[in-house]
C-alpha cells in the first residue's frame, strides 16, 4: 500500500522492462526505499537510525561470514583460532574488531531507534505490528550477541554462558533439565560452543527475515513523524529518494566516523579484559559481567535479592529480567493517549526524560559495576521505577494528561501555515519541526 500520490515506477530500458515483467524487483526497491515511497517531510535525524540498524546488520553478517571462515568452534582451539585471526589472517584483526565493535554499534543504534519509538509513541495504532516485530528483532539480537560473545572462549565467554544458561535453572521443577538441554551437558563445553556457533550463524538471517517483515509492516501505514500527526495529503510528504536517501547518506557518514574511531583507535574499550584470558572452568572471575548493552537488564536480574513469599529471589530476578523486555510488547495497549508525540505530552515528557532515561542509565551503571551494597540498592530503586513507569505510570498519565495544542498537519508544522487548516494558522509554540 502507499499513498495515492506516490510516484509510479516506469521502466525505461529494455532490461528494466524485462525485469519488471518477470520479477519486478526494481519496482519493489523503488517502492520500498526509492522515489515511490512518500515519507513525512518533517522527520528529524532520529529517523535515521532504522536505516543505520539495517546497515549494522549487513556489516555484522559480512564481517561474521569472513570470521567464520577462519574460526574453529572447538573448546580446544577456539581461543587460539581467534588469536590466529588477529595475528596471522590478512586483515583478520580488522574483521574481528569491526565485528566486535559492530555489535556494540548495532546496539547503540537500535537503542536510539527504540527510544525514539518510545518518545514519539511509534508503537501506537496503526503501527502496532511494526513495534511488535521490532521487539522480536531486539530479542533475537540479544540472543545472537550473547552467543557470539561465547565464541572466543575467553573467561567472560565461559562464565557468561554459565550464568545466562543458569538463569533457566531457576525455573521450578524443569529448570535444571532445560539448562542441561540448552548446554548439551552439565556445564558449558564443546557441545554448547558448537551449538552456539551454529545458532550465532543462523540467527542473523532470521533477524534479516524479521527485518523484512518489519519494513513491510512499516510500508502499510507509512513512517511516523515527530508531530505524531498522520499524513493527510501530498504536501505532507516527500519521496524517500532523493530526500531521505541523501539525509541517510549523511547520517551514515557520521555514524561510520564514530564507529571506525572505535574500531581503529580504541577497539577494546567496550570489551572486558578477562576475555583475553582463555576460558578456565576452575577459576571464577572476580566480577562476571555481560557486555555493556546487557547491563540494565543484568542490574534488574541482580536487584532481586530476597525471597518474595514462596518465590525464590533468583526466580523473581529471572522473571523480572524477561518481563522488563516483554513489557514492551504490551505498550500499544498500555498507553492509551490519543496523542503520539512526546512533544505535545507535558506529563509524559517529564516522566520520560526525568524518570525512564535516568533509571536506565543508573541500571546500566549498576549492571556493569562491581557488586556492592550501593549498586544493589540503586538497582532496586530504579528497577522499581522501571516497572512502575511502563506498567503503572504510562497507563495512568494517558488518562489524566492534557495534551498541548498540535499542528493541524505536517505541512503546517513545517511551514507554519496550511491553507487546508480550517482553524487558520496556530500559535506554533509547541511545533517541534525544523527549529
Amino acid at each position: 500500500m502507499s499513498f495515492p500520490w506516490a510516484q509510479q515506477y516506469e521502466p525505461k530500458y529494455g532490461l528494466t522492462k524485462f525485469l519488471d515483467e518477470k520479477l519486478p524487483l526494481p519496482r519493489l526497491v523503488y517502492n520500498a526505499v526509492g522515489a515511490g515511497y512518500p515519507v513525512p517531510r518533517n522527520l528529524s535525524y532520529f529517523w535515521n537510525f532504522g536505516v543505520l540498524a539495517g546497515f549494522c546488520l549487513v556489516l555484522q553478517i559480512v564481517t561474521g561470514v569472513v570470521l567464520a571462515m577462519h574460526y574453529a568452534p572447538n573448546t580446544l582451539v577456539a581461543f587460539d583460532s581467534t588469536e590466529h585471526i588477529m595475528r596471522n589472517v590478512n586483515w583478520g584483526w580488522l574483521m574481528r574488531y569491526a565485528h566486535a565493535n559492530g555489535a556494540s554499534a548495532f546496539f547503540v543504534v537500535v537503542y536510539i531507534h527504540i527510544f525514539r519509538g518510545l518518545y514519539y509513541s511509534s508503537y501506537k495504532a496503526p503501527r502496532e505490528m511494526i513495534w511488535l516485530l521490532g521487539v522480536v528483532i531486539f530479542l533475537l539480537m540479544m540472543a545472537t550477541a550473547f552467543m557470539g560473545y561465547v565464541l572466543p572462549w575467553g573467561q567472560m565467554s565461559y562464565w557468561g554462558a554459565k550464568v545466562i544458561t543458569g538463569l533457566f535453572g531457576a525455573i521450578p521443577l524443569v529448570g535444571e533439565g532445560i539448562q542441561n538441554w540448552l548446554l548439551g551437558g552439565f556445564a558449558p563445553d564443546n557441545a554448547a560452543l558448537n551449538r552456539f556457533f551454529s545458532l550465532h550463524f543462523l540467527l542473523p538471517f532470521v533477524i534479516a527475515g524479521v527485518v523484512i517483515l518489519h519494513i513491510w509492516a512499516l510500508h502499510i501505514p507509512g513512517s511516523s513523524n515527530p508531530t505524531g500527526v498522520e499524513v493527510k495529503k501530498e504536501s505532507d510528504t516527500l519521496p524517500f529518494h532523493p530526500y531521505y536517501t541523501a539525509k541517510d547518506g549523511f547520517g551514515l557518514g557520521v555514524f561510520l566516523i564514530i564507529y571506525f574511531a572505535f574500531v581503529f583507535f580504541m577497539p577494546n574499550a567496550l570489551g572486558h579484559p578477562d576475555n583475553y584470558i582463555p576460558a578456565n572452568p576452575l577459576s571464577t572471575p572476580a566480577n562476571i559481567v555481560p557486555e555493556w548493552y546487557f547491563w540494565p537488564f543484568y542490574a534488574i536480574l541482580r536487584a532481586f535479592t530476597a525471597d518474595f513469599f514462596f518465590v525464590p529471589a533468583k526466580l523473581m530476578g529471572v522473571l523480572a529480567m524477561f518481563a522488563s523486555i516483554l513489557v514492551w510488547f504490551f505498550l500499544p495497549w498500555l498507553d492509551k493517549s490519543p496523542v503520539r508525540s512526546g512533544h505535545y505530552r507535558p506529563l509524559f515528557r517529564k516522566f520520560f526524560w526525568f524518570g525512564l532515561i535516568p533509571a536506565i542509565v543508573v541500571l546500566g551503571y549498576c549492571g556493569g559495576a562491581h557488586l556492592s551494597t550501593t549498586t544493589i540498592l540503586l538497582s532496586q530503586i530504579f528497577t522499581a521505577y522501571y516497572f512502575l513507569h511502563f506498567l503503572v505510570i504510562l497507563p495512568i498519565i494517558s488518562l489524566i494528561e492534557r495534551p498541548e495544542p498540535m499542528p493541524y498537519s505536517i505541512t503546517e508544522a513545517v511551514l507554519g501555515h496550511d491553507p487546508d487548516s480550517k482553524l487558520g494558522p496556530k500559535p506554533t509554540t509547541a511545533s517541534p519541526a525544523k527549529a
Binding site: Q7, R41, D80, E83, M86, R87, L94, E234, S235, L238, P239, P242, Y243, A246, K247, G249, F250, G253, L256, I257, F260, A261, V263, F264, F265, P267, N268, P273, D274, Y276, I277, A286, A303, F304, T305, A306, F308, V311, A313, M316, A320, A323, V327, L334, K336, S372, T373, L377, Q380, I381, T383, A384, F387, L388, F390, L391, V392, P395, V414, L415
Partner: protein
C-alpha cells in the same frame, strides 16, 4: 483489561524488588560490610612517567626498545612465563633481519623429534616455531611457583584493566608491606613465599621481584642503563607488542579510513543540503517534487 493486568503485574514486581530493598537496607545498617585490606591499599596503575613510546594517536613502535624488552623477556621472564602465541618469525616485525631472526630462533630449545630415532627431544628453534613453554604442564608450573601458575604473557597487556600501565607498575611496585596494614588486617599479612605488591589485586603476589637492578641484563651499546624502571618499561613495551602486534598498522589504517570518511561525509552533507533546498521555501506542492 490489559491495563488492569499490567498495573497489577507492575505492582507485583515493584513490591517484590522493594521488599529486597528493605531487606538489604536492613542488613546494610545492622551489619555493614567491613572494609577489606584490598579496598584500602590497592593502587591503580599509572604507568611510567611520560608514558610509553608507542602511545599516542600517531606513535610508532620504538623498535630499539622492543628489542631490549625482548632481551629482558628472554633473559628474565621466560624462565617462568610462556609466550605461546608468538612465533620467532614475528621477531622480524621488531627490527631484526632474516639472519638475526634465524639466529635468535636457534638460541632457543623447542620440543621436536629426533630425526633418527623419532623420539621426542628438544631441538634448536627455527623461525616458524613458537616460543617454548618453560614448564611441561600446569602441575609442574604450580609446583615450582608456590602453587601459582605464571600466566602466559602473549596477551597480558590486554588481559588486565589498563594492562600496559599495570604490567609496568606491577614490575616496579614491590615494596615493604606497611606496618599499619598488618596491624589493621592481620589476615592480609604477606605469607611465606609471597611478596607485597599493592598493584596486584590481592596485594600479595607469588612472583618474586623479577627485576633486581643493574647487572641483571646487559644492553648493547648506545642503549640506556638497564635500571629496574628502564627494564620494566622495555619489557612492558615488548609485551604490548606481543599482545597487539598490529597496533601501529591499525592506527595508520584508521587515519586513512577516517580521512576518507570525513571527506565523504562532508560531500554527503552538502548533497543533502542541495537536495533539501528544493523542498524548502514554501513551495511544497507536487511541482517542487516531481520535477527531478
Amino acid at each position: 483489561m490489559i491495563r488492569i493486568f499490567g498495573i497489577l503485574t507492575g505492582l507485583l514486581f515493584t513490591v517484590a524488588v522493594l521488599w529486597s530493598f528493605i531487606v538489604d537496607t536492613g542488613a546494610a545498617i545492622s551489619e555493614p560490610a567491613p572494609e577489606t585490606a584490598e579496598e584500602k591499599y590497592h593502587l591503580y596503575p599509572k604507568g611510567p612517567e611520560g608514558g610509553f613510546a608507542h602511545e599516542g594517536l600517531f606513535a610508532k613502535w620504538d623498535t630499539a626498545q622492543l628489542q631490549r624488552g625482548y632481551q629482558v623477556y628472554k633473559e628474565v621472564c621466560s624462565a617462568c612465563h610462556s609466550l605461546r602465541l608468538v612465533a620467532f618469525r614475528n621477531l622480524g616485525e621488531i627490527g631484526y633481519d632474516e639472519g638475526q631472526v634465524k639466529a635468535e630462533a636457534a638460541s632457543w630449545q623447542v620440543p621436536g623429534v629426533d630425526p633418527n630415532t623419532g623420539e621426542a627431544t628438544m631441538v634448536e628453534g627455527s623461525p616458524t616455531d613458537y616460543f617454548p613453554k618453560p614448564y611441561a604442564n600446569d602441575i609442574a608450573a604450580r609446583a615450582a611457583n608456590n602453587n601459582a601458575i605464571p600466566p602466559d604473557l602473549s596477551l597480558i597487556t590486554k588481559a588486565r584493566h589498563d594492562g600496559t600501565n599495570y604490567v609496568y607498575d606491577l614490575l616496579t611496585g614491590y615494596r615493604e608491606q606497611p606496618a599499619e596494614l598488618v596491624e589493621e588486617f592481620p589476615e592480609a599479612k604477606t605469607a611465606e613465599g609471597q611478596y607485597y605488591n599493592p598493584f596486584f589485586h590481592s596485594l600479595n603476589i607469588s612472583m618474586a621481584p623479577p627485576l633486581t637492578g643493574t647487572g641483571q641484563v646487559t644492553y648493547g651499546e648506545g642503549n640506556p642503563e638497564p635500571t629496574i624502571e628502564q627494564m620494566a618499561e622495555d619489557v612492558t613495551a615488548f609485551l604490548a607488542w606481543t599482545a597487539e602486534p598490529t597496533l601501529v598498522k591499525r592506527r595508520q589504517t584508521g587515519w586513512a579510513f577516517l580521512l576518507f570518511l570525513v571527506f565523504a561525509t562532508v560531500l554527503a552533507y552538502f548533497s543533502k543540503k542541495q537536495v533539501w533546498a528544493r523542498a524548502k521555501g514554501g513551495d511544497v506542492g507536487e511541482a517542487s517534487v516531481k520535477e527531478d
